[in-house]
């Protein structure tokens, strides 16, 4: 499982995390992707990075499906805490709660947080 927990642009963690997801997707593995805490900001819609000079990578998240990564989740509480709903995101992850996150972690062999 790959977890996005960091906002984009302020640091490179989310972008390089995405690069890692796309590579992992090329392997025949059971991969899931989860957005929690500030990681949600990486998939917020309406980004325009022109003024910063940094490439806007949020559209790339739409390619997850093309990489056969279909298990994509977002944490309910993290969304609500930031005043966002799935309508504000560039993709449509399945909404889960903290206890489901905990259960998924126990079920996964590897857990990478970016």
């Amino acid at each position: 499982m790959i977890v996005f927990r960091t906002a984009p642009y302020g640091t490179i963690y989310a972008f390089e995390g995405l690069e890692n997801v796309l590579i992992m997707g090329a392997y025949d593995q059971d991969i899931s992707v989860l957005f929690i805490d500030d990681g949600i900001y990486a998939i917020k819609d309406g980004m325009n990075t022109e003024g910063t000079g940094i490439k806007n990578f949020s559209p790339t998240f739409r390619a997850l499906e093309a990489y056969d990564i279909e298990k994509v989740y977002v944490d309910k509480e993290s969304l609500e805490a930031r005043g966002l709903s799935v309508d504000d995101l560039v993709i449509e992850p399945e909404i889960i709660d903290a206890s489901q996150v905990a259960q998924m972690m126990e079920d996964q062999k590897n857990f990478f947080i970016f």
């Binding site: 390089e16 890692n20 590579i23 992992m24 062999k109 990478f112």
Partner: protein
């Protein structure tokens, strides 16, 4: 057990590489095998032989190179992250090799445990 180690931070700025080194040493002393140390994000900066810390400080790159020489552990520096940060074959030290991000996935598959050291 077969361990994998993932390092996401550069030397000196953060303790991640030092902690990973102490962990790797303790794991080997306990009889575990480190299948691979994968250097990603700013972690790629641990591999440059151009670093010159002051004489009374530890030399992070040399610590790692010595570890590789002593244990035969494979060190892979992610090519995409390395290129972004000016790390290439001209500057990487003994014991380090530049490799694809796929080698992190392979490590996750092959190792019993992957431990990430990060900010």
């Amino acid at each position: 057990m077969k361990f994998g180690i993932l390092i996401l931070e550069g030397p000196y700025q953060h303790e991640a590489s030092d902690s990973a080194y102490q962990f790797a040493k303790a794991a080997v002393e306990k009889g575990h095998e480190i299948l691979r140390v994968f250097f990603y994000q700013d972690g790629v900066l641990n591999s440059t032989k151009l670093m010159e810390p002051q004489a009374d400080d530890r030399h992070v790159q040399k610590m790692w190179s010595q570890f590789a020489a002593d244990t035969g552990t494979e060190f892979i520096v992610c090519v995409a992250a390395a290129k972004r940060r000016g790390i290439n074959d001209d500057v990487i030290a003994d014991g380090f090799k530049i490799g694809g991000l796929g080698m992190l996935t392979e490590l996750a598959i092959e190792a019993d445990r992957v431990v990430t050291f990060r900010a």
